[in-house]
């Protein structure tokens, strides 16, 4: 059974401005999917359509086999069973942590409610915090309570709207894995909306990249990173080196020499190859090196460094990722060696 199926959803505001343009999305039961896109791509609108706060112009939203939005159907938000974890937690400031978590537990008796509330707080690692007020918690704790509150009524789907945005990066990674673990333990189907590719790749089982109101590519994080559907997705999902190329068979000729391709080109011709900076290695600037250039900038990040190299035949500097301390400085001559295959995208049209 599918947890969530969104089919051909179109939504516009004002006159003619399309925010969602025939969007399709499927999240299998019990999976955590991420919707990734730049701001203004329509992901917030998608979230509001799924939650029932916005009525789409066309298309269908099916939740656990039940049509909640479709032609002539609009189930109001309170009868959808969709939990929401909002950007900054959005805890009810006038209610204690326990009463926040119990807010959605309407149909059950008092004892049952208390048990479920305690269970949910344990799940997010905040057992014993029930009597606190929201303002007495840190930002990360507030997000955990928001997750517990959303999970408590056993929703068909949990929507996470950029939930880690307001937190500093040190806290983020830890909370992210905790949230993932909690969702998994609860067996919840969840949709994470984010503009942060690192967050999408590290947290989700499946990622859908959205641009201009459409899903441009959907797949596992590994597929997305290794086989981006087009150069735009390649640069949006991680760092990418894009090179003009002429392909023939399973090889392409580029400024960095002749490269192996992940799949043979369907027809010989012009196009773009995508490489990841970690596929590029510095080599001695000798005659044997397949390509040579001059280092223009070294961006040191501690655990690794990005080195920009100006290759004479390439239009823009290429990026090389090296681990540890880089042995080169700006101005040095260097050779470049490519490992692993490149993804080839033929020129459109």
């Amino acid at each position: 059974m599918t947890g969530l199926r969104v089919t051909a959803v179109t939504s516009s505001y004002g006159r003619g401005v399309r925010v969602l343009d025939g969007l399709d999305l499927t999240v299998p039961d019990g999976e955590l999917a991420a919707v990734l896109g730049p701001s203004g791509c329509g992901k917030t609108t998608l979230l509001r359509v799924i939650a029932g706060f916005a009525v789409p112009d066309a298309g269908e939203v099916v939740l656990g086999g039940r049509t909640v939005s479709g032609p002539g159907v609009h189930v109001p938000p309170e009868r959808r069973g969709v939990g929401i974890v909002a950007q900054e937690g959005a805890l009810f400031p006038h209610l204690s942590v326990a009463r926040n978590v119990a807010f959605g537990l309407t149909g059950s008796g008092r004892a049952e409610r208390r048990a479920r509330t305690g269970e949910m707080l344990e799940l997010v690692g905040l057992g014993g915090y029930g009597e606190r007020m929201p303002h007495e918690l840190s930002g990360g704790q507030q997000q955990r309570v928001a997750l517990a509150r959303a999970l408590a009524p056993r929703p068909a789907l949990v929507l996470l709207d950029e939930p880690f945005n307001a937190l500093d990066s040190a806290l983020r990674a830890g909370l992210r894995s905790d949230v993932r673990a909690a969702l998994r333990a609860a067996g919840a189907t969840a949709l994470l909306v984010t503009h942060d590719q690192e967050e999408a790749l590290s947290a989700a089982d499946r990622v859908a990249v959205i641009r201009d109101g459409k899903v441009v590519q959907s797949g596992t994080p590994q597929e997305l990173y290794a086989r981006p559907a087009d150069p735009w997705v390649a640069s949006f999902v991680g760092d990418a080196v894009l090179l003009a190329a002429t392909a023939e068979g399973d090889r392409a000729t580029t400024a960095l020499g002749s490269l192996a391709l992940t799949a043979p080109a369907s027809a010989p011709g012009e196009g773009t190859v995508v490489l990841r900076p970690e596929q590029l290695n510095l080599a001695p600037a000798t005659e044997e090196a397949p390509a040579r250039g001059r280092v223009t900038e070294v961006r040191y990040h501690g655990h690794d460094a990005l080195i920009l190299v100006d290759v004479p035949t390439a239009a823009a500097p290429v990026t090389v990722r090296t681990t540890g301390s880089a042995a080169v400085r700006a101005g040095d001559e260097t050779g470049i060696r490519v490992t692993g295959p490149a993804v080839f995208h033929p020129k459109a049209g």
């Binding site: 730049p38 706060f53 938000p77 009810f92 400031p93 006038h94 503009h195 942060d196 290759v311």
Partner: protein
């Protein structure tokens, strides 16, 4: 050949949360809001109907009578004098307290806002009782000026705080003296704020009934009242009411325009760097004398006179009467504030959360009360009830209705601001956790907005308690509020007898004002 380096497409957090598919306003809000709007529009509409009852020609005849025009001249003349005087007082005090080294600037600024706490007819009573020879234009002008100048002082002081001092410094560095800089650079920027304040003052003067009748200066409002009392033909009073409403509506429209422009002028607000205050030097003593004189006249004098009359005492003073007037005042004000607040809530929520055409229309209708003088609202409701709802005539519900019409804007503004303070996402989360719109309103929206709504209710209580003209026309037979007693006693020249009522009004008004001030 093209190579593309790390194109990190990390955008700032999705800032634009404009949602497609506008949420429709729920009926549980729309229905009561519509009722409130209709109630607010009813008096205006009915006044027009009554004025035109004997045809346009008859109405025009009354409106163009020599006496009408004379009254119009007197009202407008008084407004012009008071506005001019308020501009001088308000701007000078604002500048002295915000931009100079005047000793005790904070205290002077507080003193300059205190007149707002004293009803203008109480101030009128103190002036007339101390110097009966001031009756007429001088008394009315003095009373209203000292009661109204805070309306200019407050916005101008705020604007002065907002002006980027760099502009003035630039003018000084270009060789302009301090005075020249003030006149050429600072003053023009204060114009929107000063104009907005001036229009509020004019609106107050035109609508005022209490102080002009206590200082015995015939203006439009007083003529409406006497014309209503004197004759059985209600058409003249209705026509005069319509003329007055037309003038006030024009002023409100003008005020909205200045407000719009003032807001625009403030958008490019520069640094928050506080300006270096101007050294007053040998001008310190005259400046202190000026502030002292204004405060003495506006705050000190009414309080001292009131104290004098209280100690003199009156043979005719009846503590039981004072007690029953106090009870009646608190009762009608509490009932009025409660009903007004409850009716304001749906309108406030709608205008804060649903920016549709219907919501805007409802909000604007409610603002009608802002433009209509109390005397005309009272008059319209008298006419309406005498003809269509006689059992209600001079009964409490009708008086409450008048308060609702007059002060709905006050309560709506508070409710709207209170609702806007909590993010709408809280309501959405509550919906997603299984709550219907009505229960979300009850469990989330209202509890979160409660402090602001309570403050609005307290403010409404104070303004209702001070209300005079509509109360005078609509109060249940045999009921006297503090304001109407004060009006009756001063009308009979019984100053010592009026003083206790004035004192209780000032005290009662001070309690919620004090609580509101402490909260903010």
């Amino acid at each position: 050949m093209s190579t593309h380096g790390s194109p990190s497409v990390r955008t700032p957090a999705a800032a634009s949360r404009v949602a497609a598919g506008v949420r429709r306003a729920p009926l549980v809000l729309l229905l009561p809001a519509t009722a409130a709007a209709l109630l607010a529009l009813l008096p205006l509409g009915y006044l027009g109907v009554r004025a035109m009852e004997h045809g346009w020609a008859h109405a025009w005849e009354i409106a163009s009578e020599a006496r009408t025009l004379e009254l119009l001249g007197r009202s407008l003349g008084l407004a012009a004098i008071v506005v001019a005087a308020c501009l001088v007082l308000g701007v000078s005090l604002a500048w002295l307290t915000v931009r100079t080294t005047l000793p005790g600037r904070r205290i002077w600024a507080v003193l300059a806002t205190l007149p707002l706490a004293v009803p203008s007819y109480v101030a009128a009573f103190t002036w007339i009782s101390a110097a009966p020879s001031l009756a007429g234009l001088p008394g009315a002008a003095i009373t209203l000026t000292f009661a109204c100048f805070p309306y200019v002082f407050l916005p101008v002081a705020a604007a002065l705080r907002g002006i980027d001092p760099a502009q003035e410094e630039a003018a000084r560095s270009l060789g302009g003296g301090a005075l020249r800089t003030f006149v050429r650079v600072t003053l023009p920027q204060l114009r929107p704020a000063a104009a907005g304040g001036a229009i509020l003052v004019a609106l107050y003067v035109l609508s005022d009934f209490g102080s002009v009748s206590i200082t015995r200066y015939d203006t439009f409002t007083r003529a409406i009242h006497s014309s209503y009392q004197a004759s059985f033909d209600r058409t003249p009073a209705a026509v005069l009411g319509c003329v007055l409403v037309t003038m006030t509506v024009l002023l409100v429209l003008a005020e909205n325009r200045t407000r719009g422009r003032a807001g625009h002028a403030r958008t490019g607000r520069g640094s928050a760097r506080p300006p270096v205050p101007l050294r007053l030097g040998r001008w310190t003593a005259p400046a202190l004398a000026w502030c002292g004189a204004v405060s003495a006249a506006a705050v000190g004098f009414p309080l001292v006179t009131l104290g004098y009359w209280l100690t003199v005492g009156s043979s005719g003073f009846d503590p039981e009467r004072l007690w029953s007037a106090t009870v009646a005042t608190v009762t009608v004000a509490a009932a009025g504030a409660a009903v007004t607040t409850v009716l304001a809530l749906p309108v406030g929520v709608l205008s804060a959360r649903h920016r549709g055409r219907a919501a805007r229309l409802l909000e604007q209708s409610v603002w009608a009360g802002h433009a209509v003088p109390g005397i005309t609202v009272g008059l319209a409701l008298v006419f309406f009830s005498v003809r269509y709802a006689y059992p209600l005539y001079q009964e409490l519900p009708l008086l409450i209705a008048a308060y609702v019409v007059l002060y709905l804007p006050v309560a709506v503004a508070s409710a709207r601001a209170a609702v806007l303070q909590s993010p709408p996402v809280l309501e959405e989360v509550a919906r997603s956790l299984g709550r219907s719109p009505l229960r979300v309103l009850r469990e989330i929206t209202v509890p979160l907005a409660a402090p602001g709504i309570g403050a609005g209710a307290a403010l409404t209580f104070v303004v209702i308690m001070k209300e005079l003209p509509a109360t005078l026309l609509l109060r249940p037979t045999g009921t006297d509020t503090l304001a109407t007693r004060l009006w009756t006693e001063t009308g009979a020249g019984a100053f010592a007898g009026a003083a206790p009522y004035a004192a209780v009004i000032v005290l009662l008004a001070a309690i919620p004002s004090y609580l509101l001030g402490r909260r903010s």
